[in-house]
Amino acid sequence: MDILLPEWAPNIHPMLIHFPIVLWLVAVLADLVSLFLAKSWLKNMTITLYMLGALGAFAAYLSGSEAIDMVSVPMQAELTASNHSDWGHYTFYFFTAYAIVRLFLFWKQWDKKKWLAIMLFILGAVGIGMVAQTADLGGKLVYKYGVGIK
């Protein structure tokens, strides 16, 4: 995998982290639209985006676990790195569990119930908060403490 890395990149983690952020965000927006617009293609797209978002979170989780021991972390940034890692774990677990639940409900077609669809949308929005918290801490590591900057 490292052979695919550009020369300037410290590791693959920063290349992957944007996928779960964007995929999940668009999935939740699509979920919101589908509350008002009951189109099957929109529902299919939403489920697919959640699946891809969970896969992206898995890739970010794996690459992050490897990256944290490869980069130099200033002492004052260690707690931020620790919190970023913890939130990365929570986000990955949440995304995975949520995507599995959504797939099951989609398969059973139970997600057509309005009240359940609203609940699922709210839960999906919680996922945005989690990924935002993870991303904020990751951004601080890079832009405040210079972690991963060659």
Partner: protein, 245 residues
């Protein structure tokens, strides 16, 4: 300018001749960044500025997340009694001497084989610590310990030859989080440990060697433990209180 201040937070009953120095290394770190071509962040407050804001109180700087570097000076025996206390062994077991090596004062310890652990007087929670060490003829294990309550309860990063071990001792029972080899040399080495939340890391010369996880421990003392025989030199010990943002 590097602000050097008397070690008032840790030193008791000492005179000016045997004072060690504690250096706020924030500016030193900034200087290094500048040398590497990095511009300081806008609005960044130096340790010295923070000291002025908070009445130049050493303890307050540590509370605010500044770095402190302990540097030996004066008489070894008086220094170790004033800046540290022992949770295992005594000064007689390590015969401390302050020597001049290449223009720098170093604390030389000559261990007689009795396990010795000496710690600073303050207790810390999330902490980072870097000890600049040199093994002369020392054979055995050198540990940086933290969250230490007593000899039966502490966390550690230890080196023995080219092996680094990271773990904790609870009620006398050792639990190893991670263990790995590193490229050992006979020169000065920088042994760093960080305890941030449930994440514990050990570095050698700024390279991460061990990384483990465990429950967060209550705050405790930080210091050095020697289990072995022979001479070890300590040039400095840097401490950083790690804080949430």
């Amino acid at each position: 300018m590097v602000a050097a201040v008397a070690f008032t937070s840790c030193t008791q009953n000492k005179n000016s001749d045997n004072e060690s120095k504690e250096v706020d290394s924030t500016e030193m770190m900034e200087k290094n960044h500048h040398e590497e071509g990095e511009a300081p962040e806008h609005g960044e407050v130096s340790g010295e500025e923070r000291a002025h804001e908070h009445g130049s109180h050493d303890e307050m700087i540590m509370e605010m997340g500044g770095n402190k570097t302990w540097i030996p000076s004066g008489s070894g025996a008086e220094l170790i009694q004033s800046d540290f206390h022992f949770i295992s062994g005594s000064a007689e077991n390590i015969k401390p001497e302050v020597k001049q090596v290449n223009g720098s004062a170093v604390l030389e310890l000559n261990a007689d084989g009795t396990p010795v652990a000496f710690v600073f007087h303050n207790q810390y929670d999330n902490i980072g610590m870097i000890a600049a060490l040199k093994k002369l003829d020392f054979l055995g294990t050198i540990s940086v310990i933290h969250h230490a309550k007593d000899l039966s309860n502490y966390e550690f990063v230890s080196i023995d030859g080219s092996n680094m071990k990271l773990g904790r001792v609870v009620n006398g029972k050792e639990e190893v989080f991670d263990e790995s080899e590193f490229a050992a040399n006979s020169d000065w080495m920088s042994l760093k440990v960080t305890a941030a939340g449930t994440h514990y890391k050990g570095y050698m010369d700024d390279k991460n060697i061990t990384h483990g996880h465990g429950d967060k421990m209550e705050k405790g003392f930080v210091g050095i433990m020697l289990e072995g025989k022979g001479k070890v030199q300590i040039k400095s010990i840097e401490i950083a209180v790690l804080e949430n943002e």
